[in-house]
């Protein structure tokens, strides 16, 4: 439902409008999932991360623990902050970033599309540079593959091969949840 709603986005005159259109689509999905949840008497939700490019910049919207990484000049940077219990523990100094990996509360998220009547999407913006690679992924990848290994896998191969490599790494590490990987490269 989320993917088809975002697929209906049309090119916008500028980035801020594109963000507004995307947010509108995701809020509509949230309403539909809420109605479905009430009907079935169970929570139906999904995390989301989206990258919206327009000319020299891209905005990204997310809710939950799906992540966006950027590989630039050989360096991997995580651009999103998880909406999760574990992230809150790290923020409040209860655990370290290293302890967050494989924490027993790792599955507890604080935001998701469909999880609550009001959906709050986080948003930020990044400048695009030629050759940059972006990785959008579900937690099925980063819970099983360390970021330094993601960084290694992100260089030296074309996008389909890199995507296959990342998924294989997660599966080999015992991933049982869905492993979703989407790669984007900024072309000249």
């Amino acid at each position: 439902m989320i993917v088809s709603a975002l697929a209906r986005l049309k090119p916008a005159a500028n980035l801020s409008l594109l963000v507004e259109f995307a947010e509108h689509q995701l809020l509509a999905v949230n309403e539909r999932l809420q109605a479905l949840s009430r009907e079935r008497r169970q929570v139906i939700g999904s995390t989301v991360v989206s990258l919206l490019a327009c000319d020299s910049h891209a905005a990204f919207l997310w809710a939950g623990d799906s992540r966006l990484y950027r590989m630039s000049m050989g360096e991997l940077e995580r651009l999103t902050t998880d909406h999760s219990k574990v992230e809150e523990y790290v923020k409040h100094g209860i655990i370290t970033r290293e302890e967050a990996h494989n924490h027993p509360d790792g599955n507890l998220i604080t935001r998701a599309v469909g999880a609550a009547e009001q959906l709050f999407l986080d948003c930020n913006i990044v400048e695009l540079n030629e050759g940059d690679r972006f990785l959008l992924c579900s937690d099925g990848l980063d819970k099983h593959v360390h970021e330094r290994d993601i960084a290694t896998a992100m260089v030296g191969a074309d996008l389909p091969t890199t995507a296959r490599r990342l998924i294989d790494m997660a599966l080999a590490a015992g991933a049982t949840d869905n492993v979703t990987v989407c790669l984007v490269e900024v072309l000249p």
Partner: protein, 83 residues
């Protein structure tokens, strides 16, 4: 891995704005208008002013009650209580 600060172009103002909206410090209309401004300025390469987020309310120190004086009761009332 490095931190994200180097690549983001809004000095963290957008995240600050999102947080203010989540915490209900600003309403939806303000959120959308300020987000639009920050994104448009970032894309245009203009330096942005921080988002318009009201400061959390704190009572003015000079307006606080003087507890000593508020507890003074007239002598007559004190005498009635004794009876």
């Amino acid at each position: 891995m490095s931190t994200l600060a180097s690549v983001l172009v809004t000095n963290g103002y957008l995240r600050e704005l999102c947080a203010a909206y989540v915490n209900e410090t600003i309403d939806r209309r303000t959120y959308i208008l300020e987000r639009r401004r920050l994104i448009d300025e970032a894309v245009a390469g203009k330096p942005s002013a921080p988002p318009a987020i009201p400061e959390p309310f704190e009572p003015d120190a000079t307006a606080m009650m003087d507890l000593d004086s508020t507890m003074q009761l007239p002598r007559r009332m004190l005498a009635e209580d004794d009876e």
